[in-house]
Symmetry: C2
Subunit: 80 residues, 2 copies
């Protein structure tokens, strides 16, 4: 079983790294880039644990306690 | 048009950050986590540019020139 957690900065938080990439792309000659946001993709290998509400609950706790900062970030959980 | 670039460390490259998260999850009492890999999710807003091979080619060049390090990272491109 594999779980994927996508962690994104909340919309209202300035993405400094994204802004720098946006500017660098312009400098390199890539036009038409309106916005760049950079998030994290966390891939967790869980071995032979069965999917289900209990596993999902554990993964949510992992996100809340360690993987995402609830003040500045949102996360999205994908199982399987 | 929105493009998403997923940048992952190559399999053979040690993921130090992932290893630290794996260990921290164990310390917090989450058992059964076999492996954690941490990548980047880059979301690029391209305005009203039309999809097609030309746009894809431009995005590949962005990845090769700026977004991914070809020595240590692989990337995956998703359009739309």
């Amino acid at each position: 079983m594999k779980a994927t957690v996508i962690v994104r900065l909340k919309r209202e938080v300035l993405d400094v790294q994204g802004r720098a990439v946006e500017r660098a792309l312009g400098t390199l000659g890539f036009e038409g880039v309106r916005d760049v946001r950079i998030g994290k993709l966390i891939e967790i290998e869980l071995g032979d644990q069965a999917a289900g509400p209990e596993l999902e609950e554990r993964l949510r706790r992992m996100c809340d306690e360690l993987l995402a900062n609830p003040v500045t970030e949102d996360y999205e959980l994908r199982l399987g």
